[in-house]
Amino acid sequence: MAQKRLLMKGNEVIAEAAIRAGCRNYFGYPITPQTEVMHYMAKKMVQIGGNFVQAESELAAINMVYGAASAGFRAMTSSSSPGISLKQEGISYIAGAELPAVVVNIVRAGPGLGGILPAQGDYFQATKGGGHGDYRNIVIAPASVQELYELTVEAFNLADKYRNLVMILGDGTLGQMMEPVAFRDEEPIVTYEKPWATNGRGYNDDGSYKREHNTITSIYIDPDVLEVKNNELQAKYELIRQNEVRYEAIGLEDAEIVITAFSTCSRISRNVIRQAAELGIKVGMIRPITLWPFPTQAIADAAAMPNVKAFLDVELNAGQMIEDVKLAVNGAKPVYFHGRLGGNLPTQKEILDKIVAIHEGGKV
C-alpha cells in the first residue's frame, strides 16, 4: 500500500529511495544543485549504520563506488555536470569491469563552470559514453519527484541485474523542487547473487579456502581476449535494448505533431498539449524514460503512422536527443527542434508558438 504523500525535495528523495533500495554505501563530493543528496546521506547513513564518505574529489568518489561494488555491495555516487565529467574514467572502468553501480547526475548548465541552473546538456555524455571505449550506461530520466523515487529504486535492481552502471539523469529543476511523493510500504528489491564479488575467499572449517580467488579487472591485454570480452559486453547491451526500454506515449492515435521530450521538458510539454488541443491542434508526446536504451522502435512506429505529420523535439540544450529521434524517424517525417540553454526553461508559450508555426507553416 502506498503511504501518504509527503512534500519532499527531489534530491532528498533520491537519497531516501537509495536507502530504501538497500544501498548502504554513498560516496560523493559536494556540488550544486545536488548537494542535498549528500546532506541527507551524511545524516541518514550514520543513523542506520551505513557508509557515507565525503570523498576528496569526484574521481575518488567514483572509485570508492568501484571498490564497494567490487566487494558486492550496492553503492552510489551523485554529482552534477563538471563533477560527472571527472568521473568519466571511473565510469568507463565500471563498464569494463562490469560492476553494478548507480550514478546520479543532476545536470546544470555548461560548458565549463557554466551556471548552476537546470540543463540537459549532458545527454550525449550520459548516453553515448563520455568515457573512452565502447560501453553503455543505462540512463534513466525521471520527470517528477515521485518518479525520482521509483526509478532510483529500480536503478539499483537494474544495476545488479545486468552488472551495469545505471545513471539517473535529472536536472536542477528535479533536484531542487519539492513535490509530493508517496513511498511504498515495501520496496520491490530484487536480490542477485554475486559470486564474482571480491569479498575474501573465506575459510572452511579445515582451514582450506572456500573458493578460488576472485578478481575484478577491466584490462585484457591480449586483443583477442579483449575482443571476446567486448563482444560479450555488446551482447549484454543488446539484451538490455530488448528488455528495458521504457517510455510514456500520449495521444499518438490522432496526433498530428509528436513532441519528444524527457524530464522537465516533458512536464512543460504536457501542458502545451492541452493548450494546443484548445487551439484545435492535435499534439502527442513520446517521453523516453530510459534515454538508453532509447525507445527507437516506439518513435519509428509513430513516424510510420499516417496521422503523424511531424516531430518536435524539446530539450534544455542545443539539440542532443534529437539525433536519436532522427535516427529512429529515419527520414520518414520532419523533426523540428526547440531548445533553451544556460539554465533557462522553455515556457509553454514558446513551445506552443513552435507547434502553431509547424502546423500553420504548411510544414505539416
Binding site: 504523500r5 512534500l7 550544486t32 544543485p33 548552476i116 541552473l117 517528477s144 536542477g172 529543476t173 531542487q176 523542487m177 519539492m178 513535490e179 509530493p180 522537465t264 512536464r267 512543460i268 510539454s269 504536457r270 501542458n271 492541452r274 539554465g343 526553461l345 515556457t347 509553454q348
Partner: protein
C-alpha cells in the same frame, strides 16, 4: 485550478522559503498537486531569497514560475523584480512595512499589509510571511485556513506545535486585511 502559481520573495532569513512550503503543504492537504521551487540562482549570496509554488488539479508542468497568479513581496528589490511577472488580473501582496514604493501596474490587484509590523508584534520575523499567506488564502482561495492549520500540525514536529496558535493568529491578521 490548473497551475495556479505563486512567487514569494524577500530577504534571506525572513522565512520566505518556509512560508512557501507551508502554502504548498496546505494545498497538498487538500489533495492538490503542488510544487515548490527555490531560487538557488545568482542572487543566492546577495541576501535575497525567493521561491515559486504551483498548485494544480492536474500534474504540474514547470515548477519554475515565469508568469505568476500571485506575487508576495517582502522587500523592495523583490517588488522591482517581480511586479512585472504578475498575470493581468493577478495579485500582488506587499509588505508595506518593508516596501516604501507603490505598485505601478493597474491591471492587477494589490493587497497591502504591514507584515513586518505583524512580525514585530509577534516577536519573530517569520510571522511576517505567514501573515501574507493569510492574505493569499483569503484573496484567492488557493487553500483554506483549515488546510493551513492542518498542515501545520502535519509538518511541524510535536515540540514545535506550541507555535501553531501564533502562526494562526498572524495568518488571520493577514486574512483580515483583504
Amino acid at each position: 485550478m490548473i497551475d495556479f502559481s505563486i512567487i514569494l520573495a524577500g530577504f534571506g532569513g525572513q522565512g520566505i522559503l518556509s512560508a512557501g512550503k507551508f502554502a504548498a503543504e496546505a494545498a497538498l492537504y487538500e489533495g492538490k498537486e503542488v510544487s515548490w521551487f527555490p531560487s538557488y540562482g545568482p542572487e543566492m549570496r546577495g541576501g535575497t531569497a525567493n521561491c515559486s509554488v504551483v498548485i494544480s488539479d492536474e500534474p504540474i508542468g514547470s515548477p519554475v514560475v515565469n508568469d505568476a497568479d500571485v506575487v508576495i513581496c517582502c522587500n523592495q528589490p523583490s517588488m522591482e523584480k517581480f511586479e512585472a511577472s504578475i498575470k493581468p488580473g493577478g495579485y500582488l501582496i506587499v509588505d508595506t512595512g518593508m516596501i516604501k514604493i507603490k505598485a505601478t501596474r493597474t491591471d492587477i490587484n494589490v493587497i497591502e499589509l504591514d507584515a513586518s509590523g505583524i512580525a514585530d508584534e509577534f516577536g519573530a520575523m517569520a510571522y511576517g510571511p505567514i501573515s501574507m499567506l493569510g492574505c493569499l488564502s483569503k484573496a484567492t482561495g488557493c487553500f483554506s485556513r483549515e488546510s493551513f492549520e492542518k498542515s501545520l500540525y502535519e509538518v511541524l514536529p510535536e515540540r514545535r506545535h506550541k507555535m501553531i496558535p501564533g502562526n494562526l493568529a498572524a495568518f488571520d491578521k493577514g486574512a483580515a486585511a483583504v
